[in-house]
């Protein structure tokens, strides 16, 4: 049985389809990574259009609280096994947005991150390095963030709720306020 798991893990590492969530500025580093200069398809990594099809969720850069909500939806729509790749220092400690009121500092508190790429900006070489590292982790069976999320769901959910409640509308009773006379 464990041999079968090893075989499955080997092929999973060779074919990772990526969904890139590009609201941060790191998105600009991805086109050269995908195209002729650095060509990530040679590792079996292809950009995909929807969360249902993807294995990797690549979060490029900072996440405002409102976009965090969409990231959590997206992550939960993906099918296990799935891995999250935090890209740039904004996902590690907030980066230059470390004291911003509407940007989260640590992505790891809200969804499990398997591997981080440090830097502002990380170059395409760094991204490819992270992909190769992630491939090795998957093939050794070390990248188990999705299982961590299921096990510690209450903790993640509490953290998400704590920041997401700040996105509720400021005006509670809009009809009353906008009513004339």
């Amino acid at each position: 049985m464990s041999e079968w798991t090893e075989i499955v893990d080997y092929f999973r590492g060779r074919s990772m389809w990526m969904l890139h969530y590009c609201t941060g500025c790191g998105a600009i580093e991805l086109p050269p990574t995908m195209t002729s200069r650095w060509d990530m398809e040679r590792f079996g990594i292809t950009p995909m259009a929807t969360p249902r099809q993807a294995d990797i969720l690549l979060i490029t850069g900072y996440l405002a609280i409102k976009t965090l909500k969409r990231v959590v939806y997206t992550y939960e729509q993906m099918q296990a096994p799935k891995w999250v790749l935090g890209f740039g220092s904004c996902t590690i400690n907030g980066g230059i947005y470390w004291d911003s009121y509407n940007v989260i500092e640590r992505l790891d508190k809200y969804i499990p991150v398997d591997i981080y790429i440090a830097g502002c900006m990380p170059r395409p070489e760094a991204i490819l390095d992270a992909f190769v590292k992630l491939k090795e982790m998957v093939q050794k069976g070390e990248a188990k963030g999705y299982e961590k999320y299921v096990k510690n769901y209450e903790w993640y959910k509490a953290n998400q709720d704590k920041v997401l409640k700040r996105t509720s509308p400021v005006l509670k009773e809009i009809e009353k306020v906008t009513k004339i006379g």
């Binding site: 060509d39 079996g44 259009a49 929807t50």
Partner: protein, 307 residues
Amino acid sequence: MVIVEFLIKLAQGFGIGALALATGLLFGGIGRKIMARIQRRYGPPFTQNYIDLFKLFSKGSVSHGWAFDLGLVAGFAPMLAALMFLPIGPFTLLPSDSSLIMIVYLMMMAYLGMAMGVLASGNPNSAIGMSRALMLMTGYEVPFAAVIFSVYLFSKTGYLTQIVAQQAGGFMNWNIVKMPLGFLAIEIALQGMLGEKPFDQAIAPAEIASGPMVELGGKYLGFGMIQHSVGLFLETGIVVDLFLGGAPNFWIFIAKQFVLYFIVILVDAILPRLRIHESTSFFWKLPLFLGILQAVIVIIQGGVLNV
């Protein structure tokens, strides 16, 4: 004895299905490699499609109701059924004197089955993608039908094995020499059938999030991939049987199919995507004109009307 014969046929049917799938996936992988080299990339290994398929079947998946499940099977089964009537090299599993009509009919059923499945997911992107796919089908089916009509008139039979037999005896007997305009029309229609650029409006990833496939994940996407690969084998196989004289054995058959697919990839690599109404009206102009012209030439040459 009947049961033994039936079991042998059944095993052969499974064999043909597996062979078509393996060949289709291999073509897809080589196609990705060729495309990468055209773009001056190194590209994935040519076995990448097998790895992808294996991975997809090892993933979890979400269903969207029984019509969704049934639709994927209904999209995949007619393709396999059509393969049974296709002469692959010298071998045909179910010889039938109307195999050409049968294949054309079953191919259309496959797309309608897929439409039922993906529309059951209720995603607006898949609805847009599917409406584009069916609209494209109304485009390429018309010149395709005109070419089938010419071949029918020329060979005076719908029995594919017999059409192949009539082309025996060297290159000059192939239908591509006798009906060059028809071949040109069907080659353009093939580009649309395989959904390659400039006719890839149905699965425009950056535009409508890969259209019909938007809600397919894991094993469901694996079935979609199987359907595409078997369809690739079937559609190139028909053109080989109709125009390139079939083949004495399986390897030459695959080689001829690959030549057709290679042309499709080269066109795919250099052309951008058309809009959907542009491509449909294109199919109704140039390829349809070529197909009808071919039919008229066949009628005048063969004196079909006098018979």
